[in-house]
């Protein structure tokens, strides 16, 4: 026994090393399980504030484009609102009641505190959290297109999985063709993502619009993801090899909207009940 203790003491550095490495490995595996709420990431207050400071400095240099984007969006929204008002007046339809169906999605605006685009697994930190009604699993969009989904939340901040994350998959459809596929980033270029599982007979063309399908109830139906940049079909592949130019330039992301799906719980429980019956 004494010898054993002596042996362990002799090699204590080695054992500490092994112990710490195992712990790190466990942390890595644990972190890859999606949508947890945990404290040791940039959603904790100190980390978020430090990162927010550096984002503030960086943002100063792109204020002009941010302003342009926001003004542009304002114009679009104003036009849509005006058209809607005209329609209501012209046809004398009473305004739609606030039913559950037309209040399926609520939008919560948030500011980006930190963002990266060059890693394989990129995350975004924003300044809204649990107290603002954010929950893990919510979709995130911007004025230009889809951004990602919420991974973990603290009281005032949340961490989002960016579309530029090699494990993030979003159900998509090609707008003009109605074929379904999955958008998944390949890790290389932050301007493009890959669209997988589009069958051979689909014939996608360069310039076709790719939007979210709304199949997984995270994203609303029809949020713009990007435009097909390149589509190739190798000799024996069952699916097309499609490169999509992302609508949102992730390098200058500064405001996002988090989408709260009010019917998600109802839908999920219905699906699980149905699947339960089949079994």
């Amino acid at each position: 026994m004494e010898r054993l203790l002596k042996f362990i003491y002799e090699y204590r550095a080695f054992f500490t090393f092994i112990f710490l490495e195992l712990m790190c490995a466990w942390l890595i595996v644990e972190n890859n399980q999606f949508q947890s709420s945990r404290y040791f990431n940039s959603s904790n207050r100190i980390a978020a504030n430090v990162l927010g400071f550096s984002q503030g400095v960086r943002e100063y240099f792109s204020l002009r484009t941010i302003n342009n984007d926001l003004a542009h969006e304002n114009a679009i929204l104003r036009t849509a609102l005006e058209q809607r008002n005209q329609r209501i007046i012209a046809s004398r339809i009473p305004e739609l009641k606030k039913t559950m169906i037309n209040h399926r999605f609520e939008y919560i605006s948030a500011k980006v505190m930190s963002n990266s685009t060059d890693l394989y697994k990129n995350y975004i930190t924003v300044d809204k959290g649990k107290l603002d009604g954010i929950e893990p699993g919510m979709a995130v969009i911007s004025t230009l297109g889809a951004v990602g989904k919420v991974k973990s939340v603290s009281n005032h901040f949340s961490v989002l999985i960016s579309l530029l994350h090699t494990d993030e998959m979003v159900s998509c459809t090609i707008k003009q063709k109605d074929y379904f596929g999955t958008a998944q980033w390949d890790g290389a270029d932050s301007r493009f993502t890959a669209l997988r599982y589009i069958p051979r007979h689909a014939n996608p063309a360069v310039g076709d619009t790719v939007v979210t399908s709304g199949f997984n109830a995270v994203f609303p139906n029809g949020v713009l993801v990007g435009v097909i940049h390149q589509a190739t079909l190798s000799e024996e592949a069952p699916f097309w090899d499609i490169k999509v130019a992302l609508a949102q330039d992730f390098n200058r992301l500064s405001f996002v909207e988090l989408v709260k799906s009010n019917l998600k719980k109802e839908r999920d429980s219905l699906v699980s009940v149905t699947i339960g019956e089949i079994r």
């Binding site: 500490t16 790190c24 270029d189």
Partner: protein, 171 residues
Amino acid sequence: MIRSIIIHIVLFFVYVLVQVVLLKNLVLFDAAFCFLYVAYILLLPFELSSMRVIVIGFLMGFTIDIFYDSMGLHAFATVFMSYARNYWLAVITPQGGYDSGNTPTVSTNGTQWFLVYTIPLVFIHHVILFFLEASGFDMFWYTMMKIIGSLFFTLSVIVFLQFLVPQRRRI
């Protein structure tokens, strides 16, 4: 001794702040990263025991992980590098050994020795970090490009700082 410890604690936070505020935003050509925080581990005093270097390496990696949202990734790579550090120091001991109380810097052992000391350690840190992040060898050459790019970037900054910051012979 106490003074040295206090200086190192302050330096720890300086390295973390510089890394997450400045260098996190500084990526050259979408491929070359600067992980300057490894220099903190590399420049710890010679006589520090393996055990302590590993624990400090873990704390450093873990702190960086919090800001990069990459739980365990930087910690894993840094702990490995910290463990290798003291063995590598033993292998490349110059004639006459190290002076106790010194730190492994350019001014104590010369530029050539310093490069021999840092290149393999930084390289191994980057290899582990990037391949773990890519979770596999699917994109081998692209990852390799990132590793080599980051190695050059990180090393240049470390060596540049060695000449820029006036070196104390002893802390």
